[in-house]
Amino acid sequence: MRRWTNVLDDRWIGAVGVFLGVALLAVTPYAVRASTALIPGTDVLFVRGDFYPRVTAALLIVTGLWLFASDWLRAARGRRAEPWPGRALTLPEVVWSALFLVGLTAYVYLIINVGFAIGCAIVFVILGKLLGGKLHWVIVMSISVTLAMDAVFGLLFRIPLPGRIFA
C-alpha cells in the first residue's frame, strides 16, 4: 500500500501563512472603512482601524516565512521530517476523508433544503454503513437516533430545526 509522507509539510504551511498575510494586507483597505474615521486628539497611525490588521498580517508573514525557511534548511541538511502520526497518509485514508467532508457538505445542504429529520435519517444510514455496521442495525440506529434528536432538540430545547417531525 502506498504511503504518502510529507504530503502536507511545513513548506506548504509556511506558504499558506505567507499567502494569508499578503491577502490580509491586500484586503485591509477594502475591509477597514474606518481608515478615515479619525478620533480627535490621537495619533492617527496607531489608533485607526487598519493598524491592528496590518500587525497581524506582518505576524502571519513572518511566521509563515520562518516555517517555510526552517523546513527547507532542515531538508537541505538531510534531516528527517518531523515525525507526526497524522502526517503519514495513505491514499485510501485521504480519499475516504475527502469523501466524508464532501458528504458533510451534502448533509448540510440536505438539512437546509429537505429538513433535519430526513437529512439525518439518510446520512446516518450512509455513515453507519461506511463505518462497518450491518445494514438492518444501521437502519434501526438511524431511525432511533433521528427521532430521539428531533424530540430532544425540537421539543425539549425548542430549537427550530428545519423540517422537524416533532414540531
Binding site: 482601524g49 505576524l59 528527517r80 502526517r87 455513515l127 453507519g128
Partner: protein
C-alpha cells in the same frame, strides 16, 4: 472573603441547580468516557442547549460537564489503554498496567479518589484567591490587561507542543479570525465582505464544533479505511481489553489518604500552580506531577501498575480545574482549552468574564465558584453508582458513535443563532480543523487567540487613546514586567528549539553514515 463564599453558596442553594450540576457531571462523564470525545468537545456540543436557560442554571451545568468530562477519560485510559483526553496519558502508564494485572477496579478507584482530592483542593483554593484576584482585576487598567493577554498568548505557543513558528502561526490566524465583524472602537464592519452573517463575527460555537468534533469524525472514518484495507493486521494490534477477573479488589478512601497524602498534596500544588497560569492547560500538569512522583519513594515502580503514578496524574489533572477558573473569572483569560470554549458560552449568555463581571454581576461570578466546589463533591457521589454504566459506554461501536456526534454537531451549531449560515461555518472549520490536525498545527493557540483577540485589540487601542503613543505601556510596572516575561518565554522557546535541533545533528550524521555503509 467569607461574605463572597456565602454569596456564592446562596446562589446555588437550590435543588434545581444541584440537580443540573449532577446531570452535567454525569453527561460529561459519558462524553469523556467515549473514545475520541473530550471535555472541550462536550462543552462545545452542549453549550448551545444552555442558551435558553438562565445564567445560574446554564453555567453550573457547563461546570459539571467540564468536571465530568475531565474524569471520564480515565475509563478508556484504564480499561482500553487509550487516553480519553491528552491529560489522561500518564494515567494509562500505570492505570492500564494495573488493570491488565487483574485489578481494574482498584485502578479506577485510585483515579477517582485522586480526582476528587485534586478537585476539592483546587475548589477551596479558588474560593480563597478569587476575591483578591477580582480586586486586582478591578485595579488594573487597559495597558495591564493588554500586557497580561499578550503574556497568555506567548505562554500558549510555548507549551503548544509543536514548534514555535507553528504555534505563532496558529495564534496569528486566531487573531485574524477574531477581527472579523465590527471594529470594537469605531463600529464599522471589518472583513465581513458584505455578508450579514459575519457582522457579529465568526459564530464561535459553530467554529469550535467544526474545529473539534468534525476532525474526530474524519479520524473515525480514516480508522475504518485502515481496517478495510488492512484486514488481518487489526487482530494483532488490537488493544488488550482489561477483564474484571478479580471480584473484590476495591480499596478504601482512608487507606489512600493515609498512605499517599504527601503525593496528593504535592500533585495538587503542581496542578493548582499550572492552572492559575493563564493559557496553560491541564495537559501539562499531570506530566509534571508524574515526573515529580518518579523522584519519590516508589518512583522505580512507576509504569508497572504503581498506585502513586495514577494518584499523581489524576490529582494534578483535577487540581487544575478550580485554579484555571481564577484567570477566567477575574481577568477573562481562559486557563485552558475547555475554558476557552466556556468563555464563548459565557459571552453568548451576554456575560463578559473579567473586571466587568466582577463589578456588575458578582452573584454570577461567585455562583460559578460555588458550582466548581459542589461539582467536585458530586463527582464522587455520581461516579460510584454510574461506573458500571460508563464501563459499558466505552464499548459503543463506531457506527453508532459517529452519527450521534454528527447529529449533535449539526443541532448544536444551528441552535445558537437558528440560521443555516452557522452550519456552513461548521463545515468550513471542520475542513480547517482536519488540515490543522494533519499538518501538526496546534489548535490551542488558535482557539485562545481567537477568544482573546477582541479584548486584546480593545485594550491595546484604549491604552493608546489614553496617551496617544506607546509610552502608556511603559508607565505601569506590572505591564513592563509582563512584557519582559513574554519576551523571556519567546526567547527561551527559541533557545530550546535550537538546542533540540543541534541534538538532532549527531543523529542525522549517524543516520546518513549508516545509509552510506549500506
Amino acid at each position: 472573603m467569607i461574605n463572597n463564599i456565602v454569596l456564592g453558596l446562596e446562589q446555588i442553594a437550590d435543588p434545581q441547580i444541584i440537580l443540573i450540576i449532577a446531570f452535567g457531571v454525569a453527561l460529561g462523564l459519558v462524553f469523556g468516557a467515549l473514545p475520541g470525545l473530550t471535555a472541550t468537545m462536550a462543552i462545545a456540543l452542549v453549550a448551545p442547549l444552555t442558551f435558553a436557560l438562565e445564567p445560574l442554571l446554564a453555567l453550573p451545568f457547563l461546570v459539571g460537564v467540564y468536571r465530568g468530562g475531565l474524569y471520564g477519560g480515565v475509563f478508556t485510559a484504564v480499561l482500553l489503554g487509550v487516553p480519553g483526553t491528552p491529560a489522561n496519558v500518564p494515567t494509562v502508564l500505570d492505570g492500564y498496567e494495573m488493570a491488565k494485572q487483574g485489578y481494574p477496579q482498584s485502578a479506577l478507584q485510585y483515579s477517582l479518589f485522586g480526582s476528587v482530592a485534586g478537585a476539592l483542593f483546587s475548589s477551596i483554593l479558588l474560593f480563597t484567591i478569587i476575591t483578591p484576584a477580582a480586586r486586582l482585576a478591578l485595579a488594573i487598567g487597559a495597558p495591564e490587561i493588554f500586557a497580561l493577554l499578550l503574556f497568555s498568548m506567548t505562554l500558549v505557543t510555548y507549551i503548544s507542543g509543536a514548534r514555535l513558528p507553528k504555534g505563532l502561526l496558529a495564534a496569528a490566524i486566531g487573531i485574524f479570525l477574531g477581527m472579523v465583524g465590527l471594529d470594537p472602537i469605531v463600529g464599522t464592519p471589518r472583513f465581513t465582505f458584505g455578508h450579514v452573517g459575519l457582522t457579529a463575527g465568526v459564530p464561535i460555537i459553530a467554529m469550535f464544533i467544526g474545529l473539534f468534533a468534525i476532525p474526530e469524525l474524519t479520524a473515525l472514518v480514516e480508522q475504518r479505511a485502515r481496517e478495510v484495507y488492512r484486514k488481518g493486521e487489526s487482530a494483532a494490534t488490537a488493544p488488550v481489553r482489561a477483564t474484571f477477573s478479580a471480584p473484590d479488589d476495591s480499596i478504601r478512601l482512608r487507606d489512600v489518604v493515609r498512605y499517599y497524602w504527601r503525593r496528593i498534596l504535592v500533585s495538587a500544588g503542581i496542578g493548582a500552580f499550572i492552572g492559575v497560569l493563564p493559557g496553560i492547560g491541564s495537559e501539562t500538569s499531570p506530566w509534571l506531577a508524574y515526573a515529580a512522583a518518579r523522584k519519590g519513594k516508589h518512583g522505580d515502580n512507576l509504569g508497572k501498575g504503581e498506585p502513586e503514578g495514577i494518584i499523581a496524574s489524576e490529582v494534578a489533572n483535577d487540581a487544575v480545574v478550580g485554579a484555571a477558573f481564577t484567570p477566567l473569572l477575574a481577568f477573562g483569560i481562559p486557563g485552558d482549552l475547555p475554558l476557552a470554549v466556556m468563555l464563548g458560552a459565557l459571552m453568548a449568555q451576554g456575560l463578559r468574564p473579567g473586571p466587568a463581571l466582577v463589578r456588575d454581576n458578582p452573584e454570577v461570578l461567585f455562583g460559578i465558584v460555588a458550582a466548581v466546589f459542589v461539582s467536585s463533591m458530586l463527582l464522587y457521589v455520581i461516579v460510584r453508582p454510574l461506573a458500571g454504566v460508563v464501563k459499558e459506554v466505552v464499548r459503543v461501536p463506531t457506527w453508532v458513535l459517529a452519527p450521534l456526534i454528527l447529529g449533535l454537531s449539526v443541532a448544536g451549531s444551528f441552535g445558537v443563532n437558528n440560521r443555516a449560515f452557522d452550519l456552513w461555518v461548521m463545515v468550513v472549520f471542520g475542513a480547517v480543523g482536519y488540515l490543522m490536525r494533519k499538518t501538526a498545527i496546534p489548535l490551542a493557540p488558535l482557539v485562545l487567540a481567537f477568544v482573546l483577540s477582541s479584548t486584546l485589540e480593545t485594550s491595546f487601542r484604549e491604552s493608546l487613546l489614553l496617551e496617544g503613543d506607546f509610552s502608556v505601556f511603559l508607565s505601569s510596572p506590572l505591564a513592563i514586567a509582563l512584557f519582559l516575561l513574554s519576551a523571556l518565554v519567546i526567547a527561551s522557546s527559541i533557545v530550546l528549539d535550537l538546542r533540540k535541533k543541534s541534538e538532532e545533528l549527531p543523529e542525522a550524521a549517524r543516520a546518513s553514515t549508516e545509509r552510506v555503509d549500506e
